[in-house]
Amino acid sequence: MPQLTYLEAIRQGIWEEMERDPTVFCLGEDIGIYGGAFKVTDGFIDRFGPERVIDTPIAESAIVGAAFGASLTGMRPVVEFQFMDFIGCAFNQIVNMVAKAHYRWGAPAPLVIRGPSGGNVHGGPFHSQNPEMWFVHAPGLKVVCPASAYDAKGLIKAAIRDNNPVIFFEHKYLYRRTKEEVPAEDYIVPLGKARIAREGRDLSIITYAAMVHTALEAAETLSREGIDLEIVDLRTLAPLDREAIVATLRKTGKVIILHEHARTGGLAGEIAAIINEDAFNHLDGPIVRIAAQDSPVPFSPPQEEYFLPQVSDVLREARRLRAY
């Protein structure tokens, strides 16, 4: 099996979908000759032509609106955002036009909005954000956040085939830093299903995207101390895999929820509520959350490091919870 980076895996996934389905097409800024700001669609315009790889004006709201319009005619548009931070410019089209369409008037919106998100690359307040939760709170959307190359390919393919609007957050820190064997065959990873990134007995960490790797790193250190972490990679934030959350808790009784976006109103609060509703009896300690500070993402490296959850935070909280 070939080794692919996270970025190459996404590229291959979209490419394969365009090869197998003529209704799939891409639109976005600088995705054609330039191949996208991060080169995800490199080579696409030569293969599929400017008709299916469309360089648009800088008009996010129009891009999303037009993608929805095309989807009404049975097309499957894949929209690229140069940075997911700019998704605010299309917010109304996404949450009011697209997300509500099926509920209101029975119109499915089989489109994907994808692009880079996440920090730890010193991008500053407008090139580092994790705006997932804005959309988790908008019923009608699916929200996907892969952590590995294997999943990234399977999930983007599933997202393109899904009959619902999917917001696909690609963590830019992982683009070229994670690499693994990715099957060349046609496979999908279903939306809405979490995976166990590491099996363990003592304590669960529920997380996703780049923080999976932070948790894995912490797990190595902790295993030498005799603490055996289980790591649940959610993969999809909406809809959440409630069963996987309950299952891991049933196994370990102790849980840390780890995410890169701000603490207040963050995903951890929602997961804590799910645990309270579905698995309260299995709890054997307080639900711990580790999250980013409630502030914009600062630019300067020492400040960004302070802002983001670190391996050391996981170590500290895991030791504390283990001893509880």
Partner: protein, 427 residues
Amino acid sequence: MDDAEPQMAKKQKERLAAKSAQAPGTNQRTYTIPDHRLEKPSITIRQVRKAGKVSYEVTGDLSATVPPIRESRYLSKKQCIEIYRWMLLNRKMETALENLYKQGKVVGGVYFGLGQEACSCASAYALHKDEWMGPLIRNQGSTLVRGFSPRDIMMQYMAKAGSPTRGRDASSHFGDIKDRNVVAPISTLGDLLPVLAGVALGARLQGRNIAVMTYIGDGGQSTGVTYEGLNFAAVQDLGLVLFVENNLWAYSTPADMQFRVKDLAERAISYGIPGVIVDGTDACQVYDAAHEACERARRGQGPTLIEAKMMRMKGHAIHDAADYVPKPLFEYWRKRDPIARFENFLLNVKKWLTPTENRELIAGVDQQLEADRDFAVASPMPEPESAAGGVYCEHGCHEIKPKYAIPKARKGSVASPGGTEAAVHLK
């Protein structure tokens, strides 16, 4: 009429009357977009597919000779030399930044305004000190003219504790509401327009018509908020000077794929405001258009759209080699370097600078930059903990007060800024 409201209504009526008096008596609509350029290159860039590869192709005459600088109707010798110095400082500071980047001292990327120094510097030069400006990423020269120093910008790029945002943001993403009246931009393009319009609105409510200036690119003007902001300013007669820098490229996308009008200045017609075209590599043309637009704004006559044409002479940012740009375009525009043209004008046409004076001026700029670079390099990184706090304005960190004058309240009213203290009800 003695209270404020009917007076406003009266003014509004006068404005409308003045407008209809200007309208031609027939229903034949005629619009003119003054074009001050001394050459009018007609260049198009298209996607073409050849042998399975898609690339950009230029059509148009790229052989024309460089026109002279159009003499300014307003600028004195001293002012011309000042603008020239700002342009040099702008360019040389960016060269210094490029070197700092190569030495690994910059965090993230670097953005350049190479070829656009006349646009940034000569436009911002038209503003008064107590007026306002909102720069974009390439308008580092404008922030210099507004009173920031090269070390401020260098420290922004190096993420230093002493940067204007204390490490919290990068590049030209900084501002100052106290002394320099600069609105810190955000990345998303177009969002500054309504904000600057609002600054003019606030000033007018305090009895002052001021000019406010902001920038947008051939790419950024495609955003919806550009329309909203300019239309808002037009309807409210706010003194927004929108400086459109049509530099042919938006990242890798040519201007021909952003809009279908021939000149972006034509957009002014649809807002019902004046539009004008200038050569963006001619500092005198840029200044004159900006000055006239600012004067109009100060008379309370509303916004102006200025379109400046030139080319972005580097990639989008330092990581981008701009391989997609057809080479002949670079050759064409390199001959129209705004600094070389202005230098030639000052030295050889006007003879306002002797070669010796020019050398001294350049040496002064170099010295200033060296001192600023050394200062910025030696300055410390922020402490990690400095990431905390400051999300809210609390504990009296700012006093909010009218910048220009206390807004007029109705006669007999006892209102004062901030109002009177209210009782606090906790249940």
